[in-house]
Symmetry: C2
Subunit: 356 residues, 2 copies
């Protein structure tokens, strides 16, 4: 039988690390006014990103993040073997009219707000499997295209309960590679490397769909927390680790309500991550000042916080090993209106600081 690289029942531990060659983040005005303002590569004050529709705006933003990441790695789209991308829109059109247009062999994904985890998970397996030297992983969300897709027209000015999150206008893209990022060769060439330090993926845990029967689309943190709990627990179990083996555990967009539920659910399993848990949705906005209620959400939330804030700090050594766990709520307008539940999913990526 073929040698298996599986670990536990839902994880893969890579024999050789998968390198982050580069990463890039592009966000909107509101995100650029938040606490992580200084970390993003590009803050665009025009919510239309120079386009004529909200959907085209999101596509332009996603394409920009992808192009930036490819350029920072010192590559061109022709050097990229595969692209894994997706977004929140019906039939993932932000990606079809965004990064998919780069003429890179393309796998379209739908994992709701867990998409950055899904794309890194598949990208890392493909790099480790020897199916390409450079693989691009990207995703995006846009406040206005998401409101239009899932909720109310913006002009309607609906009220939002405190459990609601604010969809991040943002995109993140990473180039994964089988070789360490090189030293910078020019001012455009900005590989994800600091001296001899870089960031690598050493393992993944694939999420399962978890459905606790919740139906409130204005409390998505609550819908996704059980999936985050399931994946974090599975990761610790599969790798034989405890929370202290991670310097930080980042969920995607649980927000304040979802975070509390996650703590309670993990507590029932005898696991306490309170001293090392952070949520990208809570990091990206100053909720009191920016009136974002429960926090940020959307594929672009975890993606822009990962590429803007988390990865560069791992390279600098702020954290030696983290667990990145973006969470997705698997609903559509139709499933919601037909009274279906909102199942969740979360994919975990083990990211480590490495000295070359």
């Amino acid at each position: 039988m073929k040698k298996q690289y599986t670990c536990g029942t839902a994880s893969v531990q890579f024999e050789e690390p998968v390198y982050f060659e580069s990463c890039a983040s592009v966000v909107g005005k509101k995100e650029g006014e938040g606490p992580l303002s200084d970390y993003f590569d590009m803050i665009c004050k025009d919510p239309m990103f120079g386009s004529e529709t909200w959907e085209a705006a999101e596509s332009a933003m996603q394409k920009e993040a992808a192009a930036l990441a490819v350029g920072k790695a010192g590559l061109t789209p022709k050097d990229i073997r595969m692209l894994f991308a997706g977004d929140l829109l019906a039939q993932t059109t932000a990606s079809s009219f965004g990064t998919a247009g780069l003429e890179i062999p393309f796998y379209g994904l739908f994992g709701a707000c867990s998409t950055m985890g899904e794309s890194l998970s598949l990208g890392a397996m493909c790099i480790a499997g020897g199916y390409g030297e450079h693989i691009l992983c990207a995703t995006s969300s846009h406040f206005a295209s998401a409101e239009k897709e899932f909720r109310f027209p913006l002009g309607y000015g609906n009220q939002r309960p405190l459990s609601a999150t604010w969809t991040v206008t943002g995109s993140g893209a990473c180039v994964l590679g089988c070789n360490p990022p090189s030293r910078p060769l020019s001012s455009d060439h900005m590989p994800l490397r600091d001296g001899d330090s870089c960031a690598v993926i050493t393992g993944i845990t694939t999420g399962k769909m978890v459905d606790y029967g919740l139906k409130d689309s204005l409390n998505m943190g609550g819908c996704m927390a059980p999936a985050a709990c399931d994946t974090i627990y599975q990761n610790l179990f599969d790798f034989g680790r405890s929370p202290k083996d991670y310097d930080a555990i980042f969920t995607g967009d649980l927000g304040m309500v979802g975070q509390k539920i996650l703590f309670d659910l993990l507590n029932e399993k005898g696991i306490d991550i309170r001293d090392r848990h952070q949520d990208c949705g809570l990091l990206i906005y100053d909720s009191d000042r920016q009136d974002t209620h429960c926090g940020g959400s959307g594929c672009g939330c975890a993606a822009s916080v990962l590429t803007g804030y988390i990865l560069p700090n791992i390279v600098k050594g702020k954290w030696k090993r983290i667990l990145f766990v973006p969470t997705g709520a698997l609903l559509s307008k139709v499933s919601f209106n037909e009274g279906d539940t909102i199942p969740g999913i979360a994919h975990a990526i083990v990211i480590e600081h490495m000295k070359l």
Copy 2:
């Protein structure tokens, strides 16, 4: 540098074959009245599949196909390491409420009608990479949920131009494995094996998005033909093959119009596949008798024809090597209404007859 298994610029050639352990097909009444009637595992006369909405009907059908495939392989869902699935609905809810509920680690895909190619492509890479012993690949489409998603309410009774295709109500699922399917051990255990013969995946070509600027959603064959041409050409180039190296080349759902365009486009590149091309959309219905105009379409078209008709015949030796090329049109209601083009994508899978 890590050993690469890449082949040409967009393909992977596997060192060891990836085995089809089992496959299953479930279709609706109309498909059960077509020329392939005798080949499907299950024909359900109730278009609601015992459910209360069209979306739930599609989910039930997809789950049934997946459960059948897992059972035929002599496995339970717990034995399956990963599931790759997707469908045509917004936010792929047919899969979220279908196979994703099987509690298998899950990667959600969106590749429109190319999804069976996308799922087999990723599933085969993961089996060959040693990331699991058994991987499930599934997809579905349903005439009524697709009409509701993309076109008009059924009760409106709109007229269809002759270039329009008919969305197949059908689902297909395959279990891929790193070991050959065993001999049948009981009446429920129906692995995809005939004596010492089986079917294997030996290579893949990942599709790129191809956009010729067409905007007619009632001529999707025309929109997807350029992508089929691109992927078939790339496959031949990457593997150094000519059409005669394949006993048959099956596209997904180009229909009559798309088939003609594909022949013309390939002809411009000096390639003639007319004597060995078949289209799943043309195989599944008797267009004159069943009033399906240009042919069948939808994720479930290529998937049910592959799992019902193509794979069992490869095992029997009717074809020794084929190229399976499902095609997808990357549009949404919103992108169409905003006047966007309809880009296409096609993923190619090299499937061979093998003697054990």
